[in-house]
């Protein structure tokens, strides 16, 4: 009986904490509450940087595990959890979700969507996390619905179908809340979808606007598609965007044109595939665009977080692209300022008059195979980079791998995989590997790298403690000195890290959290 009352008291404390409203104003000023982690990348800039510094380069070697939460789910665990006033909210494979006491890892509630049997998500039944507003959590599902869950109970408050999942559409990203709207982009570039970015009213689930990432005939950019190829041209938007409140502009990136490795039949630049889009978040109107890879034939999705950084008066976007170039872009007009290779590149050997890399003619896949760098997984991929305003360095997970790309004239069938190709590692070349690379946006040059035995799918977190955190395919979660790349601490999680770490604090104690295998781990000083 005594324990029952203790539990009741504990629950009521949690309930009161969970009921604190996350206002749009709080989302605009996350710097005022560094103990919380209010959105996928930490804040609207996409920097994945925390000003918490209790754990720092002087004491990181003493980090010890605090708790572990097991989802019991198979597949890749890609979530970055949110933490709001002591409660941690995460998602897991097969559209599971959970709220935990962030101090102990003990569950408050758990949720799992009852998914249809015939969903067709490319590349795993994954989900990367929630967005929050008020006391509502928002997630996209593998059957292409958008959900609002009650943050206190996990109950579904609204459930809006966005599009027909049977045609290959799904949601895997964490949504982005701007004002009273929930923004998210669709996955499905391997199915010949027509990509889009949507905004839903947080209160009702009503769709406010949709921006198609492929223009229809007559719209600007529609002449960049051959014939009817625009209808099945892909261009998904499967990674969370960023937001600049000063100019009220949201930045989203798009993926490959479909079919990914066969350009025959879709002659032209194929706008807005592999692009950076600047949208008005209130209306979904396009302000400008910049295309990283024109008429892509190597699956070089541009779905890397577009990180906003100010350099004096200059307002920039930094993006280390899957195509192997590190771009510095003026975010007021989309003009590229620099593009420097940060990994081995063979698809582009020259740049146009604006300094933009352009595809070389002989890099196209062939029926018998053509070796091109980066390979199909890219020089990086969706894993979050980080920008540390203290070191002024951009840290990105890189992959050194070339692949042999071959092509096949595959017919389009709704809901069926539509690659037009195959790719595989070049066996006779050097073994491929991965690295965390620290890039200097001022010069485009690499300051240091930490080599991984094999490429990793882990994102990166930086903190004011002079640290960067990353994980690897061998299962290690690692703290490195942000200035030098020297490893300071590591923990063997027992499974590959497919997520980006985050940090939070409770009662003045800083925690670092990362998902690996089917487990969410946290670490802190003893």
């Amino acid at each position: 009986m005594k324990s029952f009352f203790a539990l009741l008291a504990f629950l009521s404390v949690l309930a009161s904490a969970a009921s604190a409203q996350v206002t749009p104003q709080r989302l605009l000023n996350p710097g005022e509450e560094p103990q919380n982690w209010l959105m996928y990348s930490g804040d609207y800039t996409g920097r994945r940087f925390s000003s918490l510094d209790q754990i720092n380069s002087g004491n990181a070697g003493k980090l010890v595990p605090q708790w572990a939460y097991q989802t019991m789910a198979g597949g890749k665990f890609e979530t970055t959890p949110l933490v709001v006033d002591g409660i941690l909210y995460g998602t897991a494979p097969d559209d599971r979700a959970f709220a935990l006491d962030a101090r102990t890892g003990r569950p408050i509630w758990q949720y799992q969507r009852n998914l249809p049997d015939d969903i067709r998500p490319c590349c795993g039944r994954v989900n990367r996390g929630f967005a929050i507003l008020g006391d509502r959590l928002f997630m996209g599902t593998l059957d292409a619905h958008v959900l609002a869950l009650d943050a206190k109970t996990g109950n579904v408050l609204w459930d809006t179908p966005a599009v027909d999942y049977a045609k290959g559409y799904s949601f895997t990203l964490a949504p982005l809340v701007i004002k009273n709207l929930v923004l998210l982009g669709v996955s499905g570039g391997e199915y010949g979808i027509r990509g889009f970015i949507d905004a839903y009213e947080a209160a009702t689930g009503q769709r406010k606007w949709r921006f198609y990432t492929i223009p229809a005939p007559g719209e600007p950019g529609s002449d960049s598609w051959e014939g009817d190829s625009w209808k099945i041209g892909g261009s998904p938007a499967w990674i969370t965007g960023t937001y600049d409140p000063e100019t009220n502009t949201t930045f989203w990136t798009t993926g490959n044109p479909s079919p990914s490795n066969r350009g025959i039949g879709r002659a032209g630049d194929n706008l807005y595939s592999n692009s950076l889009l600047a949208l008005d978040p209130d209306t979904g109107k396009l302000k400008w665009h910049f295309q990283f890879t024109r008429h892509d034939e190597h699956d070089y999705d541009a779905t890397q977080i577009p990180v906003t950084v100010n350099d004096g008066d200059r307002k920039l976007i930094l993006q280390a692209n899957r195509n192997g170039f590190f771009y510095v872009i003026d975010r007021t007009d989309g003009k590229p300022l620099r593009a420097d290779s940060y990994a081995k590149v063979s698809w582009s050997l020259e740049k146009d008059s604006n300094g933009v890399p352009i595809p070389s003619k002989d890099s196209s896949p062939t029926p018998d195979g053509n070796r091109v760098c980066p390979g199909a997984a890219g020089a990086t991929n969706w894993m979050s980079p980080t920008y540390d305003p203290q070191t002024k360095l951009f840290y990105v997970t890189a992959r050194e791998q070339c692949d042999v790309f071959s092509t096949a004239p595959q017919p389009y069938e709704p809901g069926h995989a539509y690659y037009g190709s195959a790719y595989f590692p070049n066996e006779d070349a050097e073994p491929f590997y991965g690295a965390l690379r620290a890039l200097d946006p001022a010069t485009g040059k690499m300051k240091w790298e930490w080599k991984h035995p094999s490429p990793t799918w882990s994102g990166v977190l930086s903190t004011a403690g002079g640290l960067v955190f990353t994980g690897d395919a061998e299962g290690n979660f690692i703290a490195l000195d942000a200035a030098t790349g020297k490893p300071l601490w590591h923990f063997q999680c027992g499974a590959s890290v497919y997520s980006a770490p985050m940090t939070y604090a409770i009662n003045g104690k800083q925690y670092i959290a990362v998902a690996a295998g089917s487990t969410l781990f946290t670490f802190a000083l003893p």
């Binding site: 509630w109 758990q110 067709r120 190709s421 195959a422 066996e427 006779d428 094999s454 061998e474 299962g475």
Partner: protein, 284 residues
């Protein structure tokens, strides 16, 4: 709250059971057998879902066996192949359909198309002309293959188990692996399956007290090495504690040139490996 948790558990379970049974309940007969158009569709699916490991044309890609060869290790009937693709091969890099990083998963119909395609590129079993019995004697005797390789549970652990190699790999690959073992090491698995690394790299280690050790790498991460020395002892070392260490793609296996293994012996050995189904194990 408790009831919510217990409600969740059977839901998860029934999902898993449902998916496994939906694959297995498929008809045993390939509805598209011999249909060239379906084979072509199967080729597209194969390229998207299978070629990453099994290579273009199903000729093997290092990680995955050559599927143009028969009989196949995990069953040779259409139904057995259907099952292997559907649920994978536990303990190997072969994942269940749809679970892999590569590819997008296939419907039942697409699975049959792939099987139709595999049948269309299969070779007839190779007629081997060597002396299988003598090949077995060489394997376990003078050629000393069994010092490092297993066959049907007998032999060493330093190199790959060769029980199924005779039909999983092309003859050219096998000859190359014997004559020139360092040219292409038995390949490791991709990062998705990193937990089961199987790359037979050589590692040379000098410990802090100056002792030298050599062996085959069992596993490695950024901070540690696990390897099997030439006496099959497992070592676990912290990289930071070593005086020096290096990984090499020069195989520990000696190159069997024509002096060491004349052409006739090579043919006998290959015949033994290819005719493995008829061949007795080493214990006999």
């Amino acid at each position: 709250m408790k009831s919510l948790f217990s409600a969740l558990a059977p839901l998860t379970l029934s999902c898993a059971v449902l998916c496994a049974s939906c694959s297995l309940s498929a008809q045993a007969k390939n509805p598209y057998a011999g249909d060239a158009k379906m084979a072509k569709l199967g080729e597209y699916e194969f390229r998207a879902n299978c070629a990453f490991c099994h290579g273009l044309g199903a000729r093997g890609g290092g990680r995955g066996p050559d599927l143009t060869r028969t009989p196949k290790k995990h069953g040779d009937s259409d139904q057995e192949i259907f099952t292997v693709i559907s649920i994978g091969v536990p303990g190997t890099a072969m994942p269940p359909n749809g679970a892999t990083q590569q590819g997008v998963g296939m419907t039942e119909e697409e699975l049959w198309q792939v099987i139709t395609y595999i049948r269309s590129v299969e070779h007839k079993p190779v007629e081997m002309t060597g002396d299988s019995k003598r090949g077995r004697q060489l394997f376990f005797g003078n050629a000393a293959c069994s010092t490092c390789h297993m066959f049907k549970g007998q032999g060493g652990r330093l190199g790959p188990d060769l029980t199924a190699a005779g039909t999983a790999r092309s003859l050219d690959y096998l000859i190359d692996s014997i004559r020139n073992p360092s040219r292409r090491l038995s390949q490791g698995l991709g990062e998705a399956m990193k937990e089961f690394t199987e790359e037979y790299e050589t590692v040379n280690v000098v410990t802090a007290d100056g002792s030298k050790l050599q062996g085959t790498l069992l596993n490695e991460d950024s901070f540690t090495l696990q390897f099997l020395d030439t006496r099959e002892q497992v070592h676990s070392v912290d990289k930071s504690s070593l005086k020096s260490w290096e990984k090499s793609r020069k195989s520990l296996m000696p190159a069997y040139d024509e002096k060491t293994l004349p052409e006739k012996d090579l043919q006998d050995l290959l015949t033994f490996l290819v005719n493995r189904l008829q061949a007795p194990g080493g214990a006999q």
